[in-house]
């Protein structure tokens, strides 16, 4: 017998009974019955909603992982008692739900997704989300590995507003559309974002990504050159970067500042020293070069240029033989292997220090991103060679058989198009042999026929004329300038984007919803929205007519506006016809 945590008188579907929470289930038993008619395993508890303080009825709604609608209970004791009873249930259930949700998040499934913004949960339940609607949410997948609380679009009006604002700020075209339609009062904010949720998810995802260390090699550049003087602005960040990149400078700093040199002197002399010159990130000649001086302090720290055949800083890890480029020595000559002569280390001596500096820098960057990896164990080189060169990628994956393309009845398809041509061919029978004989007899005279060849004037002129017209027509199109005035062009664009948005809204409301599970809006709402959009769309032709008229007034060619707007009008017409047919077929 499970231990009861708390009980209370509560009604379920308007039938009075007793609600009981024990250590494994939440259950409700109708008055006068023995067995509970509602029993919810606590592990299925996903969310909790409570009626407002001061509401006439004291209610509690439990959402489940398996069922979004969950269960509604009304506490039926006198109100003061009911409140305290509910608070007790609420306290217990909140703990259980948060435990369940942590478990769900730890399971690798994408845990959470949006409740639609147009359908906000009751304020008290603002932090609960229903995971059963989980579609793939990139935001969550990023957050799950960073461990941060995910921001879910559509859940919190404040962060939603901020997200939408950011998205609009980054996308001027969308912002223009938003200004036109939402701020212009034609559609609502939530309608606008319906079907664009992915933009918000992408924004969340990009916000939650960690920014790594910038990959640039520290390279202080002179800011201004005045009368041969070089100015380099030293910021704390720059100092940090230099110390990080060149530990020898950090050592020089701690050795000499402030005893031997003041901070200012230290940097002035460093930037004029050979040491700085050795630390530059490129071989470009810069203004700093000519002020390079002998410096008794800094020259002590100068290292010899790292341009020997072997790099000064040897990588201490044991290199996998199969990855070691130096190991491309001649072996297996019998199979035709030759020494690799394309890579010659140190061919350009001057570039070596720079290349090695870059390599070290890249390694440091990688380590800062990956963390210092475990020290590489010495790889056994006596492993069976076959084992080492047996690469997984080269194995044929057995599981994927794929779908072989076997086109059924290919001949029939191709011949289908050409039935006309082939039927008339079969009707007549030709004596090929005789035709060939006649043709050849005529061809024997080709030399004299060629000598007599001339272009007949009349057909020649006709051909010339028709071909010239062909070319001229295309030339005409090409030579036409875009002479539509800016203002008019903007009007045309606005008209088109608005119509496109209405079309998008119309078709999303018309088609069955893509999302799996319970749809976010009822069929009635969707139908109402479609009708509303049709209302807007039916005005498109008026709008276009107005633009054509403006074109006339401004001296632009109205026919060109007509042509430009025709595809939009066609698309609108299609939607209107579709809507009309749907209505008539229903009635």
């Amino acid at each position: 017998m499970p231990t009861s945590v708390c009980t209370a008188k509560a009604s379920y579907k308007k039938i009075p009974g007793v609600l009981e929470l024990n250590d494994s289930n939440l259950q409700w038993t109708q008055d006068g019955r023995k067995a509970p008619s509602v029993r919810v395993p606590l592990t299925d508890a996903a969310s909790l909603f409570c009626s407002k303080e001061g509401a006439t009825q004291v209610r509690l709604k439990l959402g489940l992982f398996s069922d979004d609608n969950g269960h509604n209970f009304t506490f039926i004791s006198p109100q003061a008692v009911a409140y305290s009873e509910r608070e007790k249930f609420k306290k217990e259930l909140t703990t259980i739900i948060s435990r369940n949700r942590t478990a769900a998040e730890n399971a690798a499934k994408p845990p959470v997704t949006a409740l639609n913004a147009s359908n906000p949960p009751t304020p008290k339940a603002a932090t609960t989300v229903s995971p059963s609607r989980a579609s793939s949410s990139r935001a969550a997948s990023v957050s799950s590995d960073t461990g941060a609380t995910p921001i879910i679009p559509g859940n919190d009006p404040a962060s939603d507003f901020r997200l939408r604002k950011t998205v609009l700020l980054n996308n001027s075209e969308l912002a223009a559309l938003h200004r036109e339609l939402v701020i212009g009062g034609q559609i609502t904010e939530s309608e606008f974002w319906e079907g664009r949720e992915h933009l918000l998810y992408a924004q969340v995802a990009s916000e939650q990504q960690h920014k790594g260390k910038p990959g640039q090699l520290v390279d202080p550049r002179p800011e201004a050159v005045e009368g041969g003087e070089v100015k380099i602005r030293i910021t704390p960040q720059l100092v940090h970067d230099i110390f990080d990149e060149y530990p020898v400078v950090a050592k020089a700093y701690s050795d000499n500042v402030p005893q031997k040199l003041s901070e200012e002197d230290f940097w002035r002399r460093y930037f004029q020293s050979k040491l700085f010159n050795a630390h530059r990130a490129s071989i470009r000649s810069s203004a700093t070069q000519h002020v390079m001086k002998e410096d008794p302090i800094f020259d002590k720290y100068l290292e010899k240029d790292d341009d020997e055949l072997e790099p000064r800083r040897q990588r201490d890890i044991d290199i996998d033989l199969l990855l070691d480029l130096a190991a491309t020595r001649e072996d297996h000559e019998e199979t035709g292997n030759e020494q690799d002569i394309t890579m010659q280390a140190g061919k350009q001596k001057g570039a070596l220090p720079l290349i090695r500096k870059f390599n070290e820098h890249s390694e440091r960057l990688l380590n800062s991103a990956l963390g210092e990896g475990p020290s590489h164990k010495r790889r056994r080189i006596d492993e069976s060679d076959y084992e080492t060169i047996d690469l997984d990628d080269l194995h044929d994956p057995e599981a994927s058989i794929g779908i072989a393309l076997e086109m059924q009845d290919r001949q029939r398809y191709f011949e289908g198009r050409m039935t006309n041509a082939s039927t008339d061919a079969s009707q007549e029978t030709l004596d090929i042999k005789e035709i060939i004989q006649n043709t050849n007899a005529e061809l024997q005279q080709w030399a004299s026929s060629l000598a007599q060849l001339k272009i007949e004037r009349k057909p020649g002129d006709a051909a010339l004329l028709s071909m010239t017209q062909n070319v001229a027509a295309r030339l005409d199109v090409k030579s036409k300038r875009n002479d539509i005035p800016d203002g008019l062009f903007r009007q045309m664009r606005t008209c088109q984007t608005a119509a496109n948005e209405f079309l998008r809204q119309f078709w999303t409301a018309t088609y069955p919803p893509i999302t799996e599970g319970p749809s976010l809006t009822t069929p009635a709402q969707r139908a109402a929205k479609a009708s509303k959009m049709i209302g807007y769309l039916s005005k498109t032709s008026e709008k276009v007519a107005a633009i054509v008229q403006t074109a006339q007034q401004q001296g632009a060619d109205p026919a060109r506006v007509d042509v430009a707007m025709k595809p939009v009008l066609d698309a609108v017409e299609r939607a209107l016809v579709f809507h009309r047919n749907k209505k008539t077929s229903r009635s």
């Binding site: 079907g195 779908i403 393309l405 076997e406 086109m407 059924q408 001949q411 398809y413 191709f414 011949e415 289908g416 198009r417 050409m418 006309n420 041509a421 030709l430 090929i432 042999k433 060939i436 043709t439 050849n440 005529e442 061809l443 005279q445 080709w446 026929s449 060629l450 000598a451 060849l453 272009i455 057909p459 020649g460 051909a463 010339l464 028709s466 071909m467 062909n470 070319v471 027509a473 295309r474 030339l475 119509a499 496109n500 079309l503 998008r504 119309f506 078709w507 999303t508 088609y511 069955p512 893509i514 799996e516 066609d570 698309a571 939607a575 016809v577 579709f578 047919n581 008539t584 077929s585």
Partner: protein
């Protein structure tokens, strides 16, 4: 500037006969060849560097008739004081080998269709060979990407309708031509417009011409096909105004405005199908429902279609039938 031109001639005896006996502006094979020869001479006269090859699709086989890069057997007779030997050499090689090959057609070959695509493929191989020679003879001998010839071009002169079973080889030839940067020009001399040649010309930036005045072939040839692609920026040549890109559905061979395309094999259907009849892929019920919902429930009259022949279905970003 060196040009390379490969002329592919369709020598379907059957269709030439039809063209010769047409009631409206008949054009016989001998009359065609004389004008072609004049065109070839004009092309050769353009520059002594111009490379020329002539390929022919005979019933049942395709052959190369002439190539300016091969040494020709010396012509035995020089006909008259007006003849220019290089032209005569070319003319003789083309016409004589046509006579020869027509005569030697076996009975079974005579009835066979003309493999125009075979001749086209040979022309592309020829251009490829010239490209390789061109690369070994220049500093690019060790280069990784072969330098394309300056202006390689294939001109197809067709008299037969499309052979539908050669659709796939034609498309493959077009892709090869694109890779070799070969322009394909095409001229349909009689019969119906060739859909395949229209597409070949369009996809390679060439010119497709339907010979409207068969009594003025040479006029058409010189105006449209003599200028090489490189000078067509300055000398505009006629070409087709529109190319019909609409597809036929695989199920009924109807030309469709809105087709439903299998996401696996790209087969086209005029209505949503639960299983692709080509590759047997099964589609989810949900998708079918959505696609079906996108079609008008009843169609009292077809929806208006855009002037360009492609109807813009709607502005929805998804679920739009292709």
């Amino acid at each position: 500037m060196m040009d390379t031109l490969c002329v592919v001639i369709d020598l379907s005896v059957k269709h030439w006969q039809r063209s010769a006996t047409a009631s409206d502006q008949p054009l016989s094979l001998p009359a065609f060849l004389i004008q072609l020869v004049a065109f070839l001479n004009a092309y050769s006269a353009g520059s002594s560097d111009n490379a020329l090859a002539v390929f022919a699709a005979f019933p049942g086989k395709s052959l190369m008739l002439y190539s300016s890069t091969d040494t020709q057997p010396q012509s035995t007779t020089v006909s008259g004081p007006n003849s220019y030997p290089p032209f005569q050499l070319l003319d003789d090689a083309v016409v004589s080998s046509i006579i020869h090959h027509l005569e030697s057609l076996s009975d079974s070959e005579q009835e066979a269709p003309c493999p125009l695509v075979g001749a086209l493929t040979k022309a592309l191989c020829f251009i490829n060979r010239l490209t390789l020679d061109h690369n070994t003879n220049t500093s690019n001998a060790e280069g990784l990407d072969p330098i394309a010839l300056p202006d390689p071009r294939v001109l197809i002169l067709s008299v037969s309708p499309d052979i539908t079973s050669s659709y796939i080889p034609i498309m493959n030839s077009i892709f090869s031509a694109q890779k070799l940067k070969v322009t394909i020009d095409a001229c349909q001399l009689s019969g119906p417009d060739s859909v395949f040649l229209q597409q070949a010309a369009h996809l390679t930036g060439g010119s497709y011409l339907y010979l409207e005045r068969r009594d003025a072939l040479l006029q058409h040839l010189t105006m449209t096909f003599l200028p090489s692609p490189s000078v067509r920026g300055a000398i505009a040549v006629p070409t087709q105004d529109k190319v019909d890109f609409r597809a036929a559905c695989f199920c009924h061979k109807n030309i469709v405005d809105i087709g439903f395309v299998c996401s696996v094999c790209l087969s086209i259907f005029c209505q949503p199908v639960p299983v692709c009849s080509t590759c047997r892929t099964k589609f989810p019920m949900k998708t079918l429902q959505r696609l079906n919902a996108s079609r008008p429930p009843a169609q009292p009259r077809p929806a208006p279609i855009g002037t360009n022949g492609v109807s813009k279905a709607n502005g929805s970003s998804y679920g739009t039938p292709a």
